[in-house]
Amino acid sequence: MPDPVVHVAELTKIYKVPEREAGLRAAAKALFKRQTRDVRAVEAISFDIGPGEIVGFLGPNGAGKTTTLKMLAGLLYPTSGEARVLGHIPSKREREYLRRMTMVMGNRNQLQWDIPALDSFELNRAIYRLQRDDYLAMRDELVELLDVGDLVRKPVRNLSLGERMKVEIVGALLHRPQVLFLDEPTIGLDVTMQKRIRTFIDEYNRRHGATVLLTSHYMADVEALCKRVIVIHHGRILFDGALAALADEFAAYKTIGVVLENGGAPLDAYGEVVLNEGDRVSIRVPKAETSRVAARLLAEHEVLDLTIEEPPIEDVIESVFAQPAAQ
C-alpha cells in the first residue's frame, strides 16, 4: 500500500471552556475566579487516508468533525497524538505544506466582499507564488468546470449563495492543492447546485488525483462521492469503512419486498407491514431475522418476486447518531 496522505494516530483535542452558573452573582464571581471545564472534542482518533481517496466524514453537530479538519489544516494545535498530512506536521504550518492543501468552509467566505472575485484571485496568485501561465490555465479550467463564466467579474456581494460558493471554490483551488478539506461545501445550496458541486469535486479528484476529506450533512453528497466513510460521534470513531458496510453494521432492520401470486394475504405475522399495494407488500423485519422471515415467506406463500433492501442511508446514520456516548 502506498504511503498514506493523511495519517492520524491517537489524535486528541481538549478545549478548555469557561463555565459558570446563570445569573448576575455567578457572573460577578466568575470575574475573579474563572471556572473552566474540559471539553473533549476529539478523543484518540486514528485513521489513514491513501492518495486519491475521497473520504466522507460523518457525525452530528459537535461530534468533532470540524475540530479534526482544523487540526489537519494546521489551524488548531492538537492536545496530544499525531497528525501528518503529505508528510508534514500540520500545526507547524510550513509553507510547503500550506501550498499543497486547501480548506473550504461552506459557511464562511474568504473572497473580498466588495470587489470582483478576479481581484481576490490575483491576490491568491501572489500569495501562492503562482506562475502567470499556470495560474491562468488553472483559473480557466476551474471556471469552465464549475460553469462560473462572467460571475468572477461581479462584486462578490452581488452573487447568490450558490454562485458565491462556486467562485469560492475556484479561489480555493487555484494552486492545485493535492489535499482538500471540505467542511460542508454544499450547505444551504439548492439541489441543482449541490449536484453541480458534487460533480465538480468528483471531476477534480479524477483529474488531479487529489485526496479529499469531506464533511456534509447531505447524505446525497456522501453517497455520490465517498466510497469510504468515517463516522465520528462524541469525539470518537464509531465506524471506518465502506459506505455499504455501514448499513450492515448499524442498520437495525431490513425491508423485505414481496410480490404475491394470489395477493392480499395478511402478512402482519412476519413483521411490520410498511407498504401494502394489492399483491405488492413491503415488510420491515429485524436484521437478524431477515433470512428466516424470507425463507418462511417463500415456503408459506406463492411468491413471484422477493427483494431484500437495506434501509436508506439517512435512517442508518440516524440510528448511529442516536447512540449514547461510550463511557
Binding site: Y15, A41, G62, G64, T66, T67, K70, A73, G74, L75, L76, Y77, R93, R95, E96, Y97, L98, R99, M101, T102, M103, M105, R108, Q110, Q112, D114, I115, D119, S120, E122, L123, A126, I127, Y128, R129
Partner: protein, 261 residues
Amino acid sequence: MSSLRVGWLFLRMGVINELQYRVNFFVQLLQSLIQVGTALVMLELVYSHTNALNGWTQPELLSLIGVQVLLGGFIHTFIQPNMQQLMQDVQQGTLDYALTKPEDAQLLISVRMVRIWQVVEIVSGVILLFVGLAGVENSIGVGDAIAFGIALLIGGVLVYCFWLVMTTGAFWVVRMENVLELFEGIYQTGRWPVTVYPGWLRYSVTFLVPIGFAVTVPAEALTSRLQWPTLVFALGFGCAAFAFTRWFWHFGLRHYSGASA
C-alpha cells in the same frame, strides 16, 4: 520580495474597496479640520501666557503636534483597521483563512485593511509640521532630517508593536476593544513633549505605551534637541519590541481555537 508584492496587492485592494465610499473623505476632512483647529487654539492659549514650555517655543511645539497628528493618521490608516479586523476574526473564528495561506500570518493580518481616507490626517500632520518648522529659528541640517526619518520609523514600529501585542490579547480575552479605546485617550498625551510630565507618567508613556518614543523623539530630532545616544537607544528598543511582538503573536496563535468548533 514576493511578500512585498503581497503587501502591495493588499494595499491596492484596500484602496479600491475604500474608494467606493467617497463620503468618508468629507467626513475625514471635517474631522481633521476640527482636530487641527482645537490643537491650534490650545497652543495659542498656552503661549499667550508664556514664551516657552519646558524649553519648547510655540513653533517647535507646533511641529511636535504635526508629528503627533501625522503618526495618528498613520495609525488610523494602516494599524487600527487591521487590528480591529484581527480582533473580529478571532472573535468570530474567521482567522482561519489567513492561517491556511502559505504566507507569514503576521504579515497577512497586518496589511489586509487600509482606510485610505484617513490619509487626510497624515497630510494635515505634514502641513502642521512644515508650518511649525518654518517658524523655528535654528535651521535643520541633513543630519537632523535623517535622524527625524529614523526616529519616525522607529516610532511607527513601536506603535504597531503596541497595538499588535494588545490585539493578540484577544486570543485569551475575547473582547479587547476597550483597551484599544484607552489607547486613543493616552495618545492625546503625545501633544506635549513627554518631558513636561512627572516621572511616573513620563516612564509610562515612554515604555509602556510608546508615545514618548513615537512622537517626542522625532520632534526632538527636528528641533536639534536629540542626543544620538537616545536615537541608538530607541533603535534598540524598537528592535527588541518587534522581536517580542513577533514571539507573542506566535504564542497567541497557539491559543487560537476558532470560535465555532
